[in-house]
Symmetry: C2
Subunit: 165 residues, 2 copies
Amino acid sequence: MAQQKSMEDLFLLFLQDIYYAERQILKALPKMAKAVESPELKQAFLHHREQTQGQVERLQQIFEHLGKRARGTTCEALNGIVEESNELIEEFDTGPALDAGLLAGGQAVEHYEMARYGTMVAWAKAMGHAQVAQLLQQTLDEEKETDALLSKLANENLNQKAKAA
Amino acid sequence: MAQQKSMEDLFLLFLQDIYYAERQILKALPKMAKAVESPELKQAFLHHREQTQGQVERLQQIFEHLGKRARGTTCEALNGIVEESNELIEEFDTGPALDAGLLAGGQAVEHYEMARYGTMVAWAKAMGHAQVAQLLQQTLDEEKETDALLSKLANENLNQKAKAA
């Protein structure tokens, strides 16, 4: 039977979901960086891995702020995106098409995160958790920057190379 | 053993992924519309279901244009997002918190689609498939509109109601 649950419950659920997601991303990025040919893309993935480490720490601060233990709950959406990238690594040889596919995988990750952090910033503000909202906003800004960088790499570089391959 | 694969292969793979995703969304939206309390949100989900029907038909046109049979391949990312919404419907009573959660689920779907269609528009252009790019762009524009509408509903309405609950 369904039980009445509050926005605080919902927020905690989403926090656990994104905490799991970020830690999976930490594991996935080095594998993606290793598989790509473009040095710029490799660098972008490795740089974002460093950022992600900071984002995990921010989430731990938020759990602490809320008086909750930091723990993740399986995020099947993120697992699905990562799994798709793993399949591309298995099925495609190193080269422009694989780079384009993994770049798209990276962008799918960023979009998932932007949707989640955008939602959670709005919720945190509405619930009066100003400090939490600020921490989440910092991460949201980083995810947007990363997505913009990946889009730039895609538009300027990889699509043309992939076409020529 | 990995085999050399082309951008055309990659494009077809992504087309099959989003074709599966759109048809899952067709099934999920009526369930989400039924579960929410806000009439505006219910209307937004039902309107997007109609749009999605048109988007599925556009994808069928693209398969035909490329001389390929329209078929989907399981998209675990989309399944994961839909599954999460189903869990919220089971765990939360009807009311503002459930509305906020399903609204966030809808936005996660839109973000996944925006990432995918954005990528595929760029690829179609790079590969010289102008007509295909145009069809995909139409859908991308609709997804962006839907996401903007959901954001508007979230900011103006649901967060405040949920806070008060």
